[in-house]
């Protein structure tokens, strides 16, 4: 998973460059030339690969383990972050992290799916697959946002809501539906950024927003390509075809007017350039807040409804 097959030649080259750097003490000049030649080649290869990623490759990139995760964005962009836990009913769900904080000068509620970044944290965060408690925490915080009139920022990155016995018993469907309803009723601006994988109902549950952006190589889909292939092609092996057919890339969704914008990823993807990617996301949120602030609650809610009702009507 951490290695993308189409990146293999690039990764090999990057490995060699790193090796050469290590030994560059002795024949300085000669090796420096060699390094810059290889770097040129590697960036050419990157340009080739990333200039025309197929949808199936984007699925891989979107799921890359080294992509910045929700917690990375919070760490880099949110001051005074104060995590808030629990649905006040059953449990705290670490798959959906949330809290208060400041973006720029602006007080905000921030929430998002967290996949985790190593084995231990992945298990803790349940690989970003949210249970009903997580969606009920989201509902609680949406209400709090309205109560204190502070905008909401959500980061979307999940394979989907958790399919489990307890999740069903505690009303996974109801929790997702009510989370969508909460978004629609929230009387403050909501900004959503798809940073990796926007997996179906579990993603849209917290992405019914006034402004929706996607990172350049993120995906957003009604079903995973694997799931779609196993149902419609009766074989998971057709996942590539399914990824094509589903039109799940940021570019496809922008052209269908389902998202407000695409956030550039530096050459080689967010997993190579965390800081620059996070900076680009910051600029986008900045712009969105400028567009949305100040707001009038009634017209905000009406405009949000109209925005979603317009989806598909203009095709």
């Amino acid at each position: 998973m951490s290695q993308l097959d189409f990146e293999k030649p690039i990764l090999e080259l990057e490995g060699k460059i790193a090796e050469l750097r290590n030994v560059s003490g002795e024949n300085g000049v000669h090796i420096a030339e060699e390094i810059s030649r290889m770097e040129e080649k590697s960036s050419r290869l990157l340009k080739q690969a990333y200039g025309k990623l197929t949808p199936a490759q984007k699925v891989q990139v979107a799921r890359h383990q080294n992509r910045p995760h929700c917690s990375d964005y919070i760490k880099a962009l949110i001051q005074d972050f104060t995590p808030l836990a629990g649905d006040r009913n059953f449990a705290e769900d670490h798959a959906l992290i949330a809290g208060l904080g400041r973006f720029g000068g602006q007080s905000c509620i921030i929430m998002g799916h967290e996949k985790g970044s190593d084995t231990e944290s992945r298990i803790k965060h349940n690989f970003g697959m949210v249970r009903p408690e997580g969606y009920r925490k989201a509902q609680r915080l949406m209400k709090m946002a309205t109560q204190f009139q502070i905008p909401v920022i959500t980061f979307i990155d999940t394979a989907g809501a958790y399919p489990g016995k307890g999740a069903e018993e505690r009303g996974q469907s109801e929790a997702i539906a009510k989370s969508i309803e909460s978004c629609l009723r929230t009387e403050v601006p909501i900004i959503s950024i798809v940073i990796g994988e926007g997996g179906s109902g579990g993603a849209i549950a917290i992405a019914v927003a006034d402004k929706i952006y996607m990172l350049e190589h993120s995906i957003y889909s009604v079903i995973s390509p694997e799931g779609c292939a196993s149902i419609l092609w009766r074989s998971g092996e057709q996942a590539k075809e399914a990824a094509n057919a589903l039109k799940l890339t940021a570019q496809d969704l922008y052209s269908m007017k389902l998202i407000d914008g695409i956030i550039n990823e530096p050459l080689g993807g967010a997993h190579r350039h965390k800081e620059e990617t996070i900076k680009n996301v910051k600029d986008t949120i900045d712009g969105a807040l400028q567009d949305l602030l100040p707001w009038d609650a009634k017209s905000l809610i009406r405009t949000r409804r109209e925005k979603f009702l317009a989806f598909g009507r203009n095709l």
């Binding site: 109801e174 978004c183 075809e241 057919a245 039109k247 389902l258």
Partner: protein, 290 residues
């Protein structure tokens, strides 16, 4: 309907499309395997008179047992873009649509009807499971919006009757956004102070169960219906434990607090009529006036 009649019926219909043809005088109950005579089964609204199992019924049958005196008026479905993704798996989505339309005589997986129940005005948006598994795409979502608009305009209650495997994946994200869109429709009805009732029928799963179907003022369910978010097999593969036999049934959801009532098909009209009268009749305001 069992798998046999399900399979054979469309072929007979395609030969003699204009008339209802009883394909079998007898059929087996899928639950108790008791033999059921077609005329008796019609009379019992497709409820097995041996074991009480609720067999799937057509939308026509359903509407006629729900509205007062079986009287109702259907509303034309709104027009939507067809196959905007130009989706093709082993077959073109455009062809699947045409086949389903030919097979069912319907435009898509939804029927909108209006009439009265218990004397109160009601608009019903009912899913046709026989149309691509009742999957929710743009046509279905837009129909729920239209049904809600009619309910608001005519000061009627909105009743949705899901019977659906979930989202219409051949419409990609355009089907996923029907989750918020259908909930916006419900919000319009709630804003108008009108009741929104969901009658969960077999099956209600995936994106359909996780949207408009779970934000009702009142949730009713037909006995034995499968209702849930994730499919049973997916869950079994994830949690690697055996699930109870009644997992995700209407009765199980009642026990877990997700539905208000499990209602026998024969009692639906009376129950919904009573609820609508309690919620909508002007007498309820007498206390305020006094």
């Amino acid at each position: 309907m069992n798998w046999l009649t399900n399979f054979i019926r469309p072929r007979i219909n395609s030969i003699v499309p204009s008339k209802e043809v009883p394909d079998n005088l007898w059929q087996k109950c899928p639950s108790c395997e008791g033999m059921l005579f077609h005329r008796d089964l019609e009379e019992s609204s497709k409820v097995c008179y041996h074991c009480g199992h609720h067999l799937r019924i057509t939308v026509k049958e359903r509407l006629s047992i729900m509205f007062d005196d079986g009287q109702y008026e259907t509303v034309e479905l709104p027009k939507v873009a067809h196959d905007p993704l130009k989706f093709k798996d082993r077959k073109k989505y455009a062809d699947r649509l045409k086949e389903s339309q030919a097979k069912t005589g319907l435009k898509d997986a939804m029927t909108i009807a209006k009439g009265t129940i218990g004397g109160q005005k009601a608009v019903i948006a009912a899913f046709n499971f026989s149309f691509m598994g009742g999957s929710m795409g743009m046509a279905v979502g837009e129909s729920i919006v239209k049904a809600a608009e009619i309910a608001v305009k005519e000061k009627a209650a909105l009743i949705t009757i899901p019977s659906s495997g979930g989202a219409r994946m051949q419409e990609g994200m355009l089907s996923l956004v029907q989750m918020p869109r259908s909930i916006i429709a419900v919000e319009m009805v709630k804003d108008a102070g009108l009741p929104y009732i969901v009658l969960l029928t077999d099956p209600t799963t995936g994106g359909v169960s996780a949207s408009f179907a779970m934000v009702g003022d009142i949730h009713l369910a037909e006995p034995g219906s499968t209702i849930g978010f994730a499919g049973r097999r997916v869950i079994e593969e994830t949690v690697r434990e055996t699930l109870p036999d009644d997992f995700q049934t209407a009765e199980y959801l009642l026990d877990h607090g997700i539905v208000d009532m499990v209602v026998q098909r024969g009692d639906l009209r009376d129950t919904i009529g009573r609820i609508l009268n309690l919620l909508m009749s002007t007498e309820k305001k007498s206390k305020k006036a006094a």
